[in-house]
Symmetry: C2
Subunit: 478 residues, 2 copies
Amino acid sequence: MCLGDDPTCAAFAEHRLRYRRDMQPERRAFLKSGFVASGGAAALAAGGLSLVSPALAEVGKGARPSVHHHLPATAETVHWGYFSRSLTPQVEIASGDYVTIETLTHHANDDAERMVTGDPGAESVFLWTKERKGVARRGAGPDDAKLGPGGGLGVHICTGPVAIRDAEPGDVLEVRILDVAPRPSANPKFKGSTFGSNAAAWWGYHYGDMLEGKKREVITIYEVDASGDRDWAKAVYSFPWPGVTDPNGILHPTIDYPGLPVDHTKTTRTFDVLKGIRVPIRPHFGTMGLAPAEAERVNSIPPSYTGGNIDNWRIGKGATMYYPVAVPGALFSVGDPHASQGDSELCGTAIECSLTGTFQFILHKKRDLAGTSLEALDFPMIETKDEWVLSGFSYPNYLRDLGPDAQNTIFQKSSLDLAMRDAFRKMRSFLMHAKGLTEDEAISLMSIAVDFGVTQVVDGNWGVHAIVKKALFAERTA
Amino acid sequence: MCLGDDPTCAAFAEHRLRYRRDMQPERRAFLKSGFVASGGAAALAAGGLSLVSPALAEVGKGARPSVHHHLPATAETVHWGYFSRSLTPQVEIASGDYVTIETLTHHANDDAERMVTGDPGAESVFLWTKERKGVARRGAGPDDAKLGPGGGLGVHICTGPVAIRDAEPGDVLEVRILDVAPRPSANPKFKGSTFGSNAAAWWGYHYGDMLEGKKREVITIYEVDASGDRDWAKAVYSFPWPGVTDPNGILHPTIDYPGLPVDHTKTTRTFDVLKGIRVPIRPHFGTMGLAPAEAERVNSIPPSYTGGNIDNWRIGKGATMYYPVAVPGALFSVGDPHASQGDSELCGTAIECSLTGTFQFILHKKRDLAGTSLEALDFPMIETKDEWVLSGFSYPNYLRDLGPDAQNTIFQKSSLDLAMRDAFRKMRSFLMHAKGLTEDEAISLMSIAVDFGVTQVVDGNWGVHAIVKKALFAERTA
């Protein structure tokens, strides 16, 4: 794939133009960050956090140096609301390669003026007239679903997939998040600003348990600092969901299909909202992972053993993910970018805000894993600078555990009590296999030094994570 | 009460002697800390974190300056395994006063040589021969319980109660934890060292879900740094619970009664345990709170609306608690000291380690609370330097909610899902009433900036806490 850097490509001129347009300073501030200034991709490997790196050690040793790819978000490069083992890769890379990937929030149309207008990538994805729809399928449901193709059974705009050469089921894919940057508004009216949307929606934890008045969905638009000068966001205005009639004439009284274009001539905006409140920014990717093997098309909402919609704010810059590969090529996709989220994602969404990430991919072959910390890894593991974070779910692999109707059943089975059980078992296993403790040692240590938290209570397959600090093992040789 | 500082007291000589013994350097290291060096109690008020302080403003204004009391832990000053509205106060204080309170871990007899021997206070509490028992009642059960008086229905050695003059139901008691220090071993053999015990017990979350062999209880003894030079603890040795026949001839095959004297001629110790692992120290009080109104004697294990066994490691030095007063005098007690605990206290205990705390008590009268953040507070609230931490429980007031058999029923009703619901409601209420947000603002903010965590899954009334950073409100005037 030519990114405007291959003069032998037939479409080089067009690609070069797109590349240069993409590089306009407001849109690509992240490329000006220390990451590129310090020498670019080649400099990144040194700062890595890899758990076990026989694979990394090989990177760059062969005839082929690591390559830095770029994957923009357009109607052609995203799949909306689902993972699938059958998607055609947008790019195929080798282990050790870097990919800068644009991601778009599926809530951008809550305020298209701020988050879509003037942004060619977002405009192509959100395009929806009576005659044309940039991305027709939204969700894993049927093509002829009442609400629209895909039925909204899955909501996240995912960019990808990225195929990793030679990846096979049983391998582990390490994904390092080297940089994360907000995507500033492309509308000259809001030059220099970045926005996000928080939807307190019908799938939120609070929805059946409100104090005042009737059930309602409320959108709050936030301004997120894109300069790096401030580490907090602020609310701009809010409005109750007005009901939206989509371009095909279907009425959506609630947020039951993603990307609905809100008509702000019909909203009532409150600008006096959350005055004086500073929301700490924690930019991260809510949904990121590999294609599962169990079904042809998988709803993007419930997280599972290959990752997906984990919704843990620790999956941000500097973090590394480890995923079990379930299908040939691994098929990595990323979306659901968040500027900020609390543990629980209580109302159903975060500050949903388009972000661009730079990732490095390291493939660990199954044959090299025996005796390492990654042997038999069967869940998505998070590594941050200081911590290991393990993701427990109500059902660790709901597609396998809940039978043929798993994608519906999971939404009736949400439970923190089940997720806690899973997080306990995963942490025990990690301490025993990755850290060499006996079961009794692991249990004592978990009680006195491991913190369990509520990841999310809104994604069907609810999450509890277990955190252990790396410093505990500083003296340990095993 | 004369603390060896009132020459008019009839027992002045004896009290003075005790005071001087208590001041021996190894035992009272905390009194040499910056706290006293910098001018003592009077200097403490300035560093306070009070939420609303009309009450504090009054402190010291009257004829009577604040007084610093001292409450040692002895067989006479502790109650073991229960709270009660009917206990005779050990000391009555005025709002604004300070009390230094010794607390003893109920697990000290897991290794009496390290944690009891040579320590007159601990020896008096743990004394148990066929003829004499320093503290006969252990728990809220009947006097003639099979396992021993009190039946072990409640396990924590609580020092107190402290009565606060003029405290009445409807008031709020603010308790500031000004200093926390470990209690070094009094056995010359272990001079300069402090120890704690972690019991992976039958009430632990893991107990019915073990991988290897049969169900077992395992004790691990930890050494805790008492010098302040290190912020971590290390395991010393472990042993499977050997079964203990108590001095009255009753066999305890499991840890079913607190304070059982372990006979180490019958244990098998493993010294090769958790080698090279450093456990971060988080000294705090697992059990701390006021007497509830609902029952004559209340098992110390399930936490409730007046606090008690919250088991949140954030209740340490620098933290402030706010409790609703339920009975005249408030009747504050503290025990269950922990050197370290993770969120969940998974195996049933922390590093249980005797500590001494210095507290200041501020009484907020009901009549002064209208319009303040503390109005109608009906749960124990934690304030740390940077955060507000609200404690959700499976049942916010189980004594009221679960009927006459509540103290048994609660152990069949443990649920994180229920505790999450309670934590959500409490945080919503806090944001609306203490911070002046609308319900919709509160819900949006909770989703993007409040972290929910698992406090404990071992105390019957399971806990989920909600944390909001104070910095969010830095600009807010309301």
